[in-house]
Symmetry: C2
Subunit: 141 residues, 2 copies
Amino acid sequence: MSKPLQQKHNTEQKSVSVIQSQGKGGGLQQVPQLVPISQGGGKAVPPSKMKKTIADKESDEYRQRRERNNLAVKKSRMRSKQKAQDTQQRVNELKEENERLEAKIKLLSKELSVLKDLFLEHAHNLADNVHPQSADAAGGQ
Amino acid sequence: MSKPLQQKHNTEQKSVSVIQSQGKGGGLQQVPQLVPISQGGGKAVPPSKMKKTIADKESDEYRQRRERNNLAVKKSRMRSKQKAQDTQQRVNELKEENERLEAKIKLLSKELSVLKDLFLEHAHNLADNVHPQSADAAGGQ
DNA sequence: AATCATTGCGCAATAG
DNA sequence: GCTATTGCGCAATGAT
């Protein structure tokens, strides 16, 4: 979860991403194609070398790794989303539980209050009986 | 699990997106270059037309729109993350609140229980006094 | 060394 | 027409 900082990929890329989005309509089968540009510097890029690099990227295990990674990515993101959803769900549940608890507290408090009042009343009655100091209160006797 | 049917964005072009992120690398200086592939269908792509399309994508407002969108995307994702984080935070808070409430309930329950017991005890005492059915118990009055 | 998992990022489609 | 959201693939990096 912690991520200091991540600067893109700035190694030394002249990464020429060639993406061909050929749906399925026409039927053209476009294979990644590169055209080495002759540099002003003079050092022409050895086509063979170039080809090699491209080959690296275009097939072999590269494509396979990409595909695997894409799957992993999808999986990871799905999980992430699921988790977020679960968390939200949890919030809702907790909120409900919370209300339930608050209601219970309210009830208990009320009960307690009633009992306490009864107690006080009784205490007074007892006091009246035991210590009939009050004039009118004792009159009944 | 493959995706031979990658119908991504199928507008109508065989869009060959060439992106060159050349930071400062040493070697080739690849300027966006397109190589129209001869179509199997026969309909050769008019270079001029092609060029136009490329121009559209490579500069003018395209680049600008992309940049704006990239910003929007970043913003959106930041928000999304923030929200997820907030939700998690909320869960924690609610959990704490919950524990607090449960503790309170426990306390109140205990108090109530004590009071009730006292009540029962008193009730018994009163019963003894008020209903002296027992022979010797009534003698005192 | 290999592999999967996570994450930032850009693109394009699409929703608002 | 513009921003916001979303799915997707890529590459770097983390974690095994």
